[in-house]
Amino acid sequence: MSTTTTHAPAGPAPAGGSAFEPVMIGFTCNWCSYRAADLAGTARIKYPPNVRLIRLMCSGRLDPAFVLKAFAEGADGVMVSGCWPGECHYIEQNIKALRRLTLLRRVTEAMGIEPARLQLLWASAAEGQRFANEVGRIVEEVRALGPLAWGRDGARSPGSVEAALALAATGSSDPPPVSPADIDQPAPALAEVTA
Amino acid sequence: MNRFIYYPGCSMEASARAYADSLEAISGPLGLELTEIDDWNCCGATEYMGISPTRAYTLVSRNLALAEKQKNGSRTLVAACSACFMNLAKTENYLREDTTLAAQVNTALEAGGLHYTPGSVDVRHLLEVIFDDVGIEAVHDQVTRPLGGLRVAPYLGCLVTRPDLDRRWRSREHPQAFDRLLRTLGAQVVDFPPRTDCCGGHMTQISPATGFELIRRLVDAADKAGADMLVTTCPMCQMNVDAYQAEMNRYFKTSYHMPILFFTQLIGLAFGFPAQKLGIGTEIVSSRAALAKIGIEIPVAEAQEPIGAGAAGPPRRPRAKQAGLPMPAMPGENVEAPR
């Protein structure tokens, strides 16, 4: 899988202009993933600076409102990390976080937020290198999507109810063009959106 | 009736003709329906991998693609030659694990109008199929002429149980399955530690000193254990020990006469087939004297005079008696013999 480099991969700059630096929030749990981040620090493993970490006691503490607030306040991406399933310090609360996040994903995707902007990462306290690598990967994936700019210039929002429904049905991040003819068609059925 | 798609491989058509003949004879009684892949090609043996891995995988994958198309009501591809088996199994496994490789290989295959979906075909070795799918009991039921205590050294060769990417073997170094199969035929299986050691492969061409030494070790161990013959699953191993035994003897100034037969030939004998039908007598180091001991005649025209001793054999090394300290229990002992 990952090699033992101490630098997480830096992606290519998007075409046209200087590299866009996403601003992201990362929720970590006190016992595993926050300690993994600390371990990456003590081992001086380098990764991109785009993720700003928040410490929770447990990933189970994650209220979906936190994620939505982060996007609303201008985050281009959100990362949620916790202990590996089966190793949660509070026994099984990370499973509850997983459930919550799965449902939350459907909501955010229906709102027009690409799946890659909300990512889940399990990391144990001993996995500093892995934490760094995964943060690097997630940053590059968000970078490739460009700024979310949600609520700022509307460029990314679906723009209409029909388009939002179509987005949820097709899973495509580009809203389909809405023509007058479309409006009279019945809304497409909501397909199963996988987490 | 167990149905399989069958990949013979180049050796089965020439130097290991006896393996193919004996397999054909016994597949009926064993209930194996083997349908050969249409228009199969060489598996690349061991050389091509060293030259260009990607092309080698593509060469092998053509066979997998043809097998997928042909199916024959079964998704299991059986190979009898150990090297063919290893190439097919390894390639199948790598295609499943590495999507980039699979994409590259399929690009090449598509140029020939073929495509292989990784995971569509299970690749297994003939020995393991006989042991697992047919079963020891079924083999035993077909034995009409037990081998009367013929002393055999079970030589698997290095490729059957290694790398074993699909984890079918419990023991890679000292599997017991082969021994059990041979015992079911009525043979007496001697203690043969180098059962999965290397036969030298193509070292006979590249560095004869190395090749002959490896062959000598096998023959010597079988001889010391008092075996009448070696029994093997691999055409390469058979050829090395058989065709190069004389040269090995000259090199070391020894006088071994250790015949080596394919296990399918012994199964055929136990099932009552005549020796000619099983290709017995076509080997270079003749098995005539060994088989004569259990009352099987080989026609004189194809027999050879044995070069040296080897009939009586030295006394076996006795194993420690259980009157001493107890041995640790091995997994599955007294419950189910380990493989």
Partner: protein, 676 residues
């Protein structure tokens, strides 16, 4: 904004050059003082080492002179110095929970190389801390009483030492052991390195002390099956398995053992090398001295006949109707001393253990060499009779090996040297040791290595490829049943085939097979390979992350006897300190339900793994039991009415922190925040 109403002090640490080399600390401090003034910051300073007394005095002075109501320190990880800065605030009269430590070291300066980006991120992190701290409320730590009784799980040398330290100080201990007797692996050994003290001679006095101590209640042939509660107040269920011997009547005379007609291979104490009866005492010096009847192998249980033990017992102590019984104890602290298991050498087929008769494991050899063992101390081959002319000892079997265990098992080098010496003592055999490195770090350990060298042991540096009976060269066939060790002698640069009569495998140490279940039972973490994780590998090696649960000995990882004893003493000292203080302060991170806002929807009820959530049907509201709550916050997040709040990590605090973190762009400019 809540923070604007406070008077916040921001302190940015250089940490020498650890932070300052990558983050422009002065610029950040200045920026905080200016740009965050509107958010409540009244003073912003930077200092070389905030954790030093000079740094802490800065904070204390500002609290007193400037009337600070909140403090934000930007320095290392909270796991390092949160307590330090809380302490400074407390000394100056400010509630310590009104202080927030944000990490700009482990999570900024140490992991990013671009100075501009790191400085920008540091600003964002501080902004997050400032907005968050505005939502902090003063908290008091919870004080819990400490029950003076202690539970020690595991009766090996570590467990026995711990129990004796605590009991000698006058406090009661329950010592639980799975086997019929305490003593653990040390009771199996012959001599201990480097002094060559007889293991039983130094261990049995301690075992007897523990057995006879008024303060220690022994539960042998027992296991812990349930643990409830929290530090100072654990309720533990111990299952005492049926021995079929009535301990009140048994005198330990041993007649039942003598008369029992069934012999089985003893895979526990004799490591498979010897036999025991079905009614047995594991070894003569067993504590307690009551035997045990091995139910599954007993003729009476199988067929209803025999009962020889009952016939001959002079005190009628045999009771076939005995059943397992549960004992519930209340304890304040728990020490896990569950020890190790030996690596299963059968897994390395190339070494032939289990196939080749004369390949032995280290534990088998300990029993063989032991004068009270199955061969009365004679070193012999598996036939029980022949003395070996040469022995090969293979180090690192199953250790330092990515195929099995990457770790070093710490004691096997010394153990292998000991074996070399003992073989020389008991026989005339030539001894070869096959090693990768010789690890002899302890007191008099290297001197012991030198001694073994001088005694004529031959050392070959190389990892053994194979132990085989497949001979190749005529010279190898000079004797029956010989083994060949195939090894690369790296110092000579050649492959060697060395004939030996006997091979001893220095098998590595592994955690017990049920380590993960044990961890779950006691609510602690173990690493992916199964060793208990200590609170800090350097500075807190016997505490776990769970308050009240400690660990000692090999449960934490491979270590020798002096280290295990020290661990036990350390855990005991910590516990005795707690017991003396009679109560302990624990972090007030808890959930509480505001009953006025609770609608009784009960969504939260099934979420708590500690059963801390209780529904009161009469009032149709839910309550969280603060004693059982561990503060994970899952119920806080789940409540649709927002009726549950979590102290220390409230919604308001997190939402403010999010806002603060996003106030600063990637280049360090204040962003215009569009209202959500």
């Amino acid at each position: 904004m809540s923070s604007a109403q406070e008077r916040i002090g921001v302190y940015v640490c250089h940490c020498g050059s650890n932070i300052a080399a990558t983050v422009d600390v002065e610029a950040v401090s200045e920026w905080a003082g200016q740009e965050l003034a509107g958010r409540g910051v009244v003073v912003a300073r930077d200092s070389k080492f905030m954790c030093a007394s000079s740094g802490q005095e800065l904070i204390e002075k500002d609290i007193e002179e400037l009337g600070l109501t909140r403090v934000v320190v930007a320095a290392c990880s909270p796991h390092m110095h949160e307590k330090t800065f809380r302490g400074a605030c407390a000394r100056a009269g400010l509630n310590p929970y009104l202080c927030e430590l944000v990490s700009i070291r482990e999570q900024v300066s140490w992991v990013h190389s671009d100075r501009a980006a790191a400085t920008a991120k540091a600003k964002a992190v501080i902004a997050g801390g400032v907005l968050r701290v505005g939502e902090h409320v003063p908290l008091e730590p919870l004080r819990v009483p400490i029950n003076p009784t202690t539970l020690v799980v595991g009766g090996g040398i570590a467990g026995i030492s711990t129990a004796l330290e605590i009991a000698d100080a006058g406090f009661p201990v329950h010592l639980v052991e799975r086997q019929p007797s305490i003593g653990g692996h040390m009771a199996q050994f012959d001599k201990t390195f480097p002094t060559l003290d007889c293991a039983a001679c130094i261990l049995t006095p301690k075992m007897v002390d523990a057995g006879m101590h008024k303060g220690i209640t022994l539960h042998t042939w027992s296991e812990v099956t349930d643990v409830k509660g929290y530090v100072g107040n654990f309720t533990v269920t111990i299952k005492e398995r049926a021995r079929y011997i009535n301990a009140e009547l048994c005198t330990g005379c041993g007649i039942c053992q003598e008369k029992c007609p069934i012999r089985v291979q003893d895979n526990v104490f004799e490591a498979g090398l010897g036999f025991r009866k079905v009614a047995y005492m594991p070894f003569p010096q067993a504590v307690p001295k009551y035997p045990v009847i091995d139910g599954p192998n007993c003729t009476y249980f199988e067929k209803g006949t025999c009962k020889a033990c009952e016939k001959f017992c002079p005190t009628n102590a045999i009771d076939f109707n005995q059943v397992d019984r549960d004992v519930i104890v209340e304890v304040g602290n728990i020490v896990l001393a569950t020890g190790f298991e030996l690596f299963d050498a059968r897994r390395i087929e190339q070494y032939g253990y289990g196939r080749l008769p004369n390949v032995f494991t280290s534990l088998e050899f300990e029993r063989m060499s032991n004068a009270a063992g199955p061969t009365n101390g004679r070193i012999v081959l598996r036939d029980g009779v022949t003395e070996p002319r040469s022995v090969g000892i293979i180090h690192c079997v199953g250790s330092r090996d990515r195929n099995y265990n990457s770790h070093c098992s710490a004691i096997c080098c010394m153990q292998s040297l000991k074996f070399a010496h003992l073989i020389g003592d008991h026989t005339d055999a030539t001894v070869h040791n096959f090693y990768i490195d010789i690890r002899a770090p302890g007191k008099a350990y290297d001197e012991f290595y030198q001694r073994v060298l001088e005694e004529g042991t031959i050392f070959v540096r190389g990892r053994v490829a194979e132990v085989t009976d497949s001979l190749r060269l005529p010279a190898e066939a000079d004797a029956e049943g010989r083994l060949i060790i195939q090894v690369e002698d790296t110092l000579v640069g050649r492959q060697r085939r060395i004939p030996v009569d006997m091979v001893i495998l220095a098998a590595g140490l592994e955690p017990p097979a049920d380590a993960k279940e044990t961890a779950r039972l006691f609510g602690i973490s173990c690493s992916s390979d199964g060793w208990v994780i200590e609170r800090h590998p350097k500075l807190d090696p016997v505490a776990t992350m769970t308050d009240g649960v400690f660990a000692a000995g090999c449960a934490l990882g491979p270590r020798d006897i002096p280290a295990s004893v020290s661990n036990g003493a350390a855990a005991a000292a910590r516990i005795l300190g707690r017991i003396q203080q009679k109560e302990m302060a624990i972090e007030p991170v808890r959930a509480t339900v505001d009953e006025a806002r609770c609608s009784g929807c009960r969504i939260c009820n099934d979420l708590c793994p500690y059963n801390a959530i209780v529904y009161h049907a009469d009032r149709a509201v839910t309550e969280v039991n603060p004693a059982l709550c561990q503060g994970c916050g899952t119920c806080v997040a789940a409540c649709p009415a927002g009726a549950i709040s979590g102290t220390g990590f409230s919604d308001a605090q997190i939402l403010s922190q999010i806002e603060g973190l996003l106030m600063v762009s990637a280049s360090g400019q204040l962003r215009e925040v569009v209202p959500a």
